[in-house]
Symmetry: C2
Subunit: 326 residues, 2 copies
């Protein structure tokens, strides 16, 4: 647990503050912001061994308290919070329906738990949609009403904006595009809890598996991350280049297919693998062959790992007046 | 050109009427409705040899006049019209940007042409989105705020509702899903004006091509329509069954991929091939293997070929107050 002095700590804001919360599979991050959305202070802690909803809420309570002290804000000055959760989230009811991280939450009334613990309105949203909100508010998709935030890390998911609003779907699972069937992916339906067809090729483990298969599982090839494999490709390693090209082709199919459905103006790539310039450039080269106007325009997230937190602040600001938020 | 007595012609409606117009590649259909949306009378004509925008508008003017006479309505009682066009349509400006039918319209200000000709507000929309509007208003998707209308005929396209609104996209091409890349489709980008990857397997010509390839182009196999091939499958023809199964598998991939993006509650299948019960049932059997909640729920259009016209009436009714419509 530590507090970093990321922002302006000149004095407590007069009109109140909000807290944006990002609950990750291994990390909990909180940012306190003034009503202009400026981050005043940040806090983070590990969630390893803290997976129960009660424990996570206690941890959040502690983090918020520390942030308020650090910024010389009274407890009363906190007006609202919003939390991004890594799973299927009913943002209307504030309930996390299911997660694969955190040892599998199920029907957790997170909004209510946070409201009880902190005494202020609490909004809850899926973390990838939260990141999309962040990019729409202050990132690469500012002012763009039709765009897709595509998070590529261990898993793959999308946050979809259309007509200026988030698309959540009838069962809160819009954007689970990691399960897409594409040329050269598996054709088998995914087993519960297992990676989807696209994910198993270009999620973090998928890229590593491509690499290990191509390099015949030689010991020297072990333990490289996807980013390191892509770096080798740019240094001229022919096997790594094949992995990069194949990954770019799959990403091009996926982005094109999504764009055919939505005709989004922009694709913002985020997540540990999505922010790879090499992957983005290789994918763009492939997409140049595809017809306008459905050809997706790819850019890399400008908020990076902060997208969720910034989105959470945006939602918390909206929750000061209405808990259902944006 | 003929008038069919489809509705109630007891007397002219007192408060006014609207006209819904469906401009097809070979057929023009108009329905006159009262302000309750009840169809009073229908009219249709061939558009063969009448492909220029001016000629089509003149034909529409004549059709509307005949319908008004037939229902004993004065010209003044017409309050608005709405037209569905078979191409990329900027519904805000009322401009048909491009069609492949009608010898290729380009940037045709159809709304303005209709307003000049008829002297009333005129809304314009893409025909597949118009059909989705119809299904949402009076068809299989009544009361469903997140659904996809999937038209499968010669071409394939979708009308997408999310959060209760039509998704049109940043360049008005949302729903062009016939170009989707799926397992076992071509991987080549489509050439301009040519069928897309999915379309070339399960559009009308694609299904016929599958059949001809499997039946080794024997003369007895020629000239069957997709629907006739599916009928043969249900009578036990093993080659036709392979065509049906393959088509259902491709449709299952496509519907599942779209559902992953949007998590729609419902897929309404329309178009000459989409309304095939055999195709729908075969696709549903495949989808049973896929995980909830992204598994799409398929139903067949309840409005059939009337979906566009009903949607046009809906849009015309909205245009009595605002030309930009729904």
């Amino acid at each position: 647990m530590k507090i970093s002095s990321a922002g302006n700590s000149a004095g407590p804001p007069e009109k109140g503050v909000v807290a944006g919360i990002d609950i990750g599979g291994s990390n909990l991050r909180i940012a306190l912001a003034d009503l202009g959305g400026n981050v005043l202070e940040r806090w983070n802690a590990s969630t390893k061994g803290t997976s129960s909803p009660g424990d996570v809420v206690t941890l959040i309570e502690r983090g918020v308290e520390q942030l308020l002290q650090q910024t010389c804000c009274s407890k009363r000055s906190l007006l609202s919070v919003a939390a991004g959760a890594p799973g299927v989230t009913d943002s209307r009811a504030g309930v996390v329906l299911a997660t694969s991280f955190l040892r599998g939450w199920k029907d957790v009334p997170l909004g209510q738990l946070l409201e009880s613990a902190l005494g202020v309105p609490a909004a809850v949203e899926n973390d990838v949609r939260m990141a999309a909100l962040g990019e729409h508010w202050k990132g690469a998709a500012r002012g763009v009403d039709d765009f897709v935030f595509l998070a590529i890390g261990t898993g793959i998911a999308a946050g979809v904006f259309a007509n200026g609003s988030l698309i959540r779907g009838s069962g809160w699972t819009a954007g689970e595009v990691g399960y897409m069937f594409l040329p050269h992916t598996t054709e088998e339906p995914a087993k519960p809890g297992m990676p989807g067809a696209m994910e198993s090729v270009i999620g973090g483990d998928g890229i590593r598996r491509q690499w290990l298969d191509l390099s015949d599982h030689q010991p020297s090839a072990q333990n490289l991350t996807a980013t390191e494999i892509f770096s080798r490709a740019s240094s001229g390693d022919p096997l790594a280049k094949r992995v990069l090209d194949r990954s770019a082709q799959i990403l091009a199919y996926a982005a094109y297919n999504i764009s055919l459905v939505l005709n989004s103006a922009l694709f913002v790539l985020g997540g540990g693998i999505g922010v790879s310039v090499l992957l983005c450039e290789a994918t763009k080269r492939i997409l140049e062959k595809y017809n306008e106007p459905s050809r997706p325009n790819l850019v890399i997230s400008s908020l990076g790992a902060d997208a969720q937190l910034i989105g959470a602040i945006r939602l918390a600001l909206a929750a000061t007046t209405s808990p259902s938020g944006v």
